[in-house]
């Protein structure tokens, strides 16, 4: 029984280039300038304008005042901050899926690694302010652990934690990627392998004996205390100012990551990546080693995911193994699909739209939202394979085709 080799392109399916490649359009200098201006405006809005609207127009405390009409409430800004950290993760995922054609179903895992690193740091900072008033995190006390395990020790230091947030997921991705890409596992098999990885890690993290909080995860975060040049400043997470600051940091990271990814995709490296997506064997025959390139982007996307997780956690207040489940990873892929594969803006857009929709539907259509989400999956995949970014192009093509048909008849 010979199977048809599963691949992205096969003789019978229509040759659909699942990306709207913006590259050639940007050779037009007018487009390039306006795109750049658009980018600057967007960055300004995200980083400066929106937080400003949280500061001005605040309601006066202790009164019934609801604030100015343009005031962005703390809840909304916080929500937006979390969405932006998702967008950061989406950038990394788009880099490996949209541009390199690697479907990884364990991005949520790397997100959680970063999140847990940050969570561990925050738990240690809570220390004596916790329920049991001990230096050990709460869950260790009810787990009858008397001494802080060795692997928790590094997380006392802020900068070390920052380093680990990037290092841990990257290292993990590097090892896994090294073993996998070298054996030329790709496509569907790779997706299933990442599923297995996510599932087994989820099982492990759920165990209380791992000393990572088990299914309850880590919670009860109170403050961040970074040390600058030997001087420690305390930022209490319950203060709106601190949450605003976290939002700004997230937005900055998003802009920076976007620029980084843009630079990569525009470079020659980016070309090789797209080539790998389209036809890996030919790239190999041309003398490149695709495994190295794939390893690089996989590790980079893991690092981005880790940073995203670390930014997400102080804004949410809890990190649990539930966030690294297979379902969570698959949901992340759909953000990219909705926004538009292979376009970085599409990834950000998709992440924001889908998550905003999720929040909205669970409030207003409680119990029906899975239908909406499921339909979204199916509709996006079948009807708009290039996502929302590619929608105008798709409509244009359709119009062109039907007008062409009209002409020949």
């Amino acid at each position: 029984m010979e199977p048809q080799a599963p691949s992205d392109v096969s003789p019978q399916a229509p040759r659909v280039l699942a990306v709207a490649s913006p590259d050639h359009t940007l050779r037009d200098p007018y487009r390039r300038v306006s795109a750049g201006v658009g980018l600057i405006i967007a960055a300004l809005v995200l980083v400066v304008v929106l937080p400003l609207l949280n500061v001005i127009g605040r309601p006066l405390p202790g009164t019934e005042d609801v604030g100015a009409w343009y005031w962005i409430s703390d809840v909304e800004l916080n929500l937006l901050g979390r969405y932006l950290s998702y967008a950061l993760l989406a950038l990394g995922l788009d880099l490996i899926w949209g541009y390199t054609g690697i479907l990884s179903l364990c991005q949520a895992l790397f997100f959680c690694f970063g999140g847990y690193c940050m969570g561990m740091y925050l738990s240690l900072q809570t220390g004596a302010e916790g329920v049991y008033e001990s230096t050990l995190p709460d869950f260790m006390v009810w787990n009858r652990v008397t001494e802080l395990p060795l692997f928790w020790q590094p997380f006392h230091s802020f900068w070390f934690t920052m380093a680990l947030i990037v290092i841990v997921p990257s290292l993990f991705a590097f090892i896994f990627g090294f073993l996998t890409f070298r054996s030329r596992v790709r496509g569907v098999y790779f997706a299933v392998l990442t599923q297995a990885l996510a599932y087994s890690t989820w099982l492990l993290f759920n165990r209380n004996s791992m000393n990572l909080g088990g299914t309850n995860g880590l919670t009860n975060f109170k403050k961040i205390v970074p040390t600058f040049f030997g001087h420690a400043t305390t930022f209490r997470l319950s203060e709106p100012g601190v949450q605003r600051g976290l939002y700004v940091v997230t937005a900055l990271f998003l802009v920076a990551a976007y620029l980084l990814c843009r630079w990569i995709t525009r470079s020659r490296l980016g070309r090789v990546l797209t080539a790998i997506r389209d036809n890996e064997n030919r790239v190999r025959f041309s003398g490149y080693n695709p495994a190295n390139f794939k390893l690089f982007v996989f590790t980079l996307s893991a690092a981005l995911a880790g940073v995203a997780g670390a930014l997400y956690v102080p804004q949410t207040g809890i990190i649990t193994p539930g966030k690294m489940s297979v379902a969570a990873s698959i949901d992340m892929v759909i953000w990219i699909a909705v926004g538009g594969r292979g376009t970085l803006v599409g990834a950000v857009l998709g992440a924001l739209i889908v998550n905003a929709g999720y929040s909205y539907f669970t409030t207003h259509f409680a119990a029906y939202w899975p239908y909406f989400l499921g339909l979204l999956f199916v509709a996006v995949v079948m009807l708009i394979p290039r996502g929302l970014i590619g929608l105008p192009a798709q409509l244009r093509e359709r119009l062109a085709r039907s007008s062409r048909r009209g002409q020949t008849e």
Partner: protein, 556 residues
Amino acid sequence: MRSSRQLSPLAVFLLFVTPAVRAQTAPPPAVVQQIDALATDDGTAQRAAVAALGESGDRNVIPTLEALREESLYVWTPPNGTRRMVIARDKTTVDDHEQYLLQDAYGGARLHQADGSEISAPAEELQEVSVDRRVRTAIQVVLERFKLLDSDPVVRRAAAKNLADKGDIIALEALAKAQAAEPDPAARTVIDEAYNLLKLSAPSDQDKLAAISRLGVLRSADAVPRLEELRKTASPQLQAVILPTLDHIRWWQKVNRLLYAVFSGLSLGSILVLMSLGLAITFGVMGVINMAHGELMMIGAYATFITQNWFLAHVPAQAFGFYFLAAIPLSFVAAGAAGYVLERGVIRFLYGRPLETLLATWGVSLILIQAARFWFGDLTAVAAPSWLSGGIEVIAGVQLPYNRLFIIAFTMLCVAGVYLLLLRSSAGLRIRAVMQNRAMSASMGIATNRVDAFTFALGSGLAGMAGCALTLIGNVEPDLGQNYIVDAFIVVVTGGVGKLVGTVAAALGIGWLNTFLELVTDSAVMGKVLILVFVILFLQRRPSGLFPPTGRAVEY
């Protein structure tokens, strides 16, 4: 129903009431006295009466004691008659009032009027005799002694076991008598064991010695804790015998565990095969990643649930057990139909794009799960048919449950069936042709679209049957599929995409490996995690699985 509170222990004597009672074997007055003595608040007195009834050896008190245990024994005060003890369980309606049909406390026969009609009484005339847990335990022991002489050997065995647990020296005699008269060898062994366990508490060392040696020969697991206790206070002579006996029994327990693990692994492996067979066809043969595979299993499980309910409502109780046999083809059809619709509606447009199929089918699975939750609520009960409950005791201590044996046999049938279909039938020939070379098959006149739909429906139907079988060991709930989908994929990928023998081999291998890892690490979670790690590492070495697809297809 007022519980008995004002009756004095020995004050009630039987008088025949005006409505004549159909004559029974006349109950001996001593027994009758004891039955009446049951109607008291005093637990100690009740236990004494129960013990006395047990001593009497009169089998007619069995219904009495059983009723007492269930709290269906009452003191009946008819309006113009004297009090007597009755059993009241079944209800009837007389002139729009609910009344209880009365049974004789001694013997349990229904009471009838002189004209033959059944006597019934309203709740006001009946006073419940209540018992606490200690009395219930005492009743249990007495009943077990009676059950030693029951006609059914299974009952006799269970009775002997229970006596060993809860009984006392008094039971020794009964056990000795029973053993001598016992025709069934398995029952004889159990009675032997029970007898010797009780004998361990005998005063003389000689008796103890005999009991210990005998228990060693019988390899009795229940003896271990008692021997441990005994060891602390025994004489050196006894100790010399106890220690090797303990070692021997413990060794045998290890062997038991090992044997059971082998069965357990086979059972787990067969479940994996069943889950993965359908997926092997859709994924392996067609290259379609169907994340809704778990939900197709769920559809099969719900089909079983619906069949069960239909049988409950429309079929007499005796034939209820057959619902399961009817459910198997029904779940195949239901899931197959769903699969057909899925293929025609969604997957057909996504051939050659496996990653898109993954996402689209995931969306479908979300919808299906929520729809199931909406229609059926969250937990639905599927009762295993009686012929599949319980198990068969192969060796002492190793009981192989029937439901798992059934699943193993069922799996083998399915695999054989699929093989026959694919290799021997013309439909199978067409399927294989389309999968090997679609263009050529189309040129030869095979309707490839229809073959695709049929193959997918076949895979889905198999998933449905797996769901049906899984109701025997698990829940029927909307999330059913989510628990199994990752495992199923791993099995198919490890086995080698495209080869059914690979799937079967991988499933059995993973099943056994998982069971033994669980045995060795003594933790269910670690077993699972290690398996996944092993699979990941295995796929590094052999990326195409155990039985890779042959051929020189270049992935491009």
